[in-house]
Symmetry: C2
Subunit: 243 residues, 2 copies
């Protein structure tokens, strides 16, 4: 049976990949991914065949991976962060229904939520949610209901895809919704270029976040009612009782 | 300035640690952690000084780490999964207020949610929440509000600490709450001993999950309204529109 790995390479730097991910790529004949991620790893895997497809061609990329594996090659499909968090592993199972002879193995990685949290301090110590603000495949009403539900229940919230050229005001809309239940003084943080050159973070209030411009390489963190700023870091206590 | 690393070692196996975590431990004089996690890594770091403190002595463990660092040693405090997800990094910042000369560096790892998801298939492809069922430091009413809010907003939900000897019926209570908004046929999954010997997973309905006994080494996944079973794997599509 041919083997097809679906690998989360972590937030960017080679040193943030797991040993398991590195071994799988070393054992592969072909490494496939979105151009930017292939460029991040290329130098570390000399002699491999690399294939890329552009953004928004995700189904084509999956089919390509299965077709290469069908030829008898060992193939790695790589994603940034974790392949299972807004990543390719779901689509790989769906496309894989047509390739019953090819076995998938998912290799987890450090996702932007935990990679970014490590830069900001410790914002995710207690219950949290991930919400993507991209309405490409999800109706905005659904995103809105999740922002409100998560705010009302006092979750720490991590926003993926907080902005794009078409959706430049989505973060502002999201902040207005969250402020229906969260104080405007809630401690928040943003991290851009996690574990890559130019990594940057800022800690601020929810009110300040509302008027902050972020790009698509930024991950946004909104604290719960207990989250505080400690020496410039964003820290959520592990519980609601004195420890 | 003395350096103190707070490291997520991933779900268990050495191969699931990141290169950055391994390098930090190699550069450390002393490695500190809960006994079980120190035993998992010990053989890979010969010549290091290891120190352990038992469960529920988390504050003591943090103080120990800072005191050792204060002596001029490079110290690694290790946690399973990611140190920032129900882990020690928050408490380290809080205890660290008394040690302004010691710099903390948080090194992220693969948390049980993404490690377990990779075993189950692709349950976390879309918006999800993590909720701990432990009411040791959180009032049960708060946990209940989060279970209800997350279910109503159709999040995929991951439960940490789903059970203990004292809390043997908490998973059942949680399922009853979630079934107020989620169908009893919602696709769910459980994974125990992620990336360790004896790793096991099962895919089932929410109704079946309600009557399933799990232990404290199990992570529980409850799908959203779109999650399906595909060839025995738990898969959440990446959106709500046809792709």
């Amino acid at each position: 049976m041919s083997k097809l790995y679906v690998i989360g390479i972590g937030p960017g730097a080679y040193e943030q990949m797991t040993g398991k991910a590195i071994t799988a790529m070393q054992n592969s004949d072909t490494i496939i991914g979105y151009t930017v991620y292939v460029d991040l790893v290329k130098e570390h895997f000399p002699g491999k065949e690399f294939m890329t497809t552009p953004m928004k061609k995700e189904v084509d990329r999956c089919v390509l991976a299965f077709e290469e594996a069908k030829k008898g090659k060992t193939v790695s499909m790589i994603c940034s962060g974790d392949a299972g968090v807004y990543g390719m592993s779901g689509l790989m199972y769906e496309v894989g229904e047509k390739y019953p002879d090819i076995e998938l193995e998912i290799i987890p990685g450090v996702t932007a939520a935990t990679g970014g949290a490590a830069v900001l301090g410790a914002p995710l110590i207690h219950d949290f949610c991930l919400i993507s603000l991209s309405d490409l495949l999800t109706p905005w009403e659904k995103i809105e209901a999740r922002l409100l539900g998560a705010s009302q229940a006092d979750f720490v919230i991590v926003l993926y895809n907080p902005s794009s050229i078409k959706r430049h005001d989505y973060l502002q809309k999201a902040c207005d919704l969250m402020m229906q239940y969260k104080s405007e003084d809630t401690v928040c943080g943003i991290v851009s270029q996690i574990a890559r050159e130019g990594e940057e973070y800022h800690v601020m209030t929810l009110k300040e976040l509302r008027d902050t411009k972020v790009d698509m390489f930024t991950t946004v963190f909104i604290g719960n009612s207990q989250t505080k700023e400690l020496n410039g870091k964003m820290v959520t206590p592990r519980g609601y009782r004195n420890v």
